[in-house]
């Protein structure tokens, strides 16, 4: 399973999101060291990498939270919704867990 963690330094949410991703991987039986971290530093790179905001987590190339087609690719903090409907700067860990489990089932 390939796990990519894309982040931009201008948004302070990435350490928390990475720690939660590591915890989910650990609890699902994966080595957290599988995570490939990639810093996005320019708008050009954001467009090239189809980066909708920081942080973005890809599992086997799929975004754990599909983003809107109309969403621009740029250096910005990404808006997530937690399962209770509230806004967050990081994805709901249960959504990340579901994405990991889907990837496991598809292997």
């Amino acid at each position: 399973m390939r796990v990519e963690f894309l982040w931009w330094d201008g948004c302070p949410s990435h350490p928390e999101a990475l720690a939660e991703l590591h915890e989910v991987l650990r609890s699902e039986g994966f080595d957290p060291d599988v995570v490939e971290r990639r810093e996005i530093e320019t708008d050009e790179q954001a467009a090239r990498e189809r980066f909708p905001g920081s942080p973005t987590i890809l599992i086997d190339g799929e975004d754990v939270i599909p983003h809107d087609d109309g969403e621009p690719f740029s250096l910005t903090c990404r808006v997530y919704r937690l399962r209770d409907g509230s806004y967050s700067a990081t994805p709901d860990p249960d959504d990340v867990r579901d994405a990991v489990r889907r990837a496991k089932e598809n292997r």
């Binding site: 201008g10 948004c11 302070p12 949410s13 740029s74 910005t76 903090c77 990404r78 808006v79 997530y80 937690l82 509230s86 806004y87 967050s88 700067a89 990081t90």
Partner: protein, 172 residues
């Protein structure tokens, strides 16, 4: 650099989403919140801040969006208007700082970045609304604590906290 605690708060005259101009008023306690439309931190704290505005009718509140709308179209004046309309109105004016001069004068770093100003026009609190954007149960406790102290003529227990959020999007 962020305006220092006990320094005079920079005055401003800025338009709200209906075109009315707003300024600080001498003799009134005020809360100035730099915020925006596109940032998850600002969105997460938004309802808590609005509730504080509803709860303190003896305080004048201002929400100010200073972000560069060329790079972040979601923060344009039109988008601000649409948001307030969609919400059926806000209990505080949502002001546009197009020139970014007000944000620079305050030294706003993030959205949100909160400032509490006493009736003499001095900044008495600067920082985050509370300790965690993901915990609505905190109810913007640091902002409320500062307002309660200033309204009682006392020193806020926490005069400064680290603002947490998206960086203000300055024009390049």
């Amino acid at each position: 650099m962020t305006v220092a605690i006990r320094e005079k708060a920079p005055d401003f005259t800025l338009p709200d989403t209906e075109g009315r101009e707003h300024s600080l008023q001498q003799g009134e306690v005020a809360a100035v919140v730099f915020t925006c439309n596109h940032c998850p931190y600002a969105l997460a704290w938004h309802d808590r801040i609005l509730q504080v505005a509803r709860d303190y009718d003896d305080v004048r509140f201002f929400a100010i969006n200073p972000n560069d709308a060329d790079r972040y179209p979601g923060d344009s004046f039109d988008a601000m208007r649409e948001r307030v309309e969609r919400d059926g109105g806000w209990p505080l004016p949502y002001l546009r700082d197009e020139s970014q001069e007000v944000a620079r004068a305050y030294g706003a770093k993030t959205t949100p970045h909160v400032f509490v100003i006493d009736a003499d026009g001095a900044v008495r609190y600067a920082g985050a609304p509370d300790a965690d954007h993901r915990d609505p149960g905190l109810e913007a406790a640091w902002l409320r604590e500062a307002l309660d102290a200033v309204l009682a003529g006392e020193e806020p227990a926490r005069a400064e906290t680290e603002p947490v959020g998206c960086s203000v999007k300055w024009r390049q």
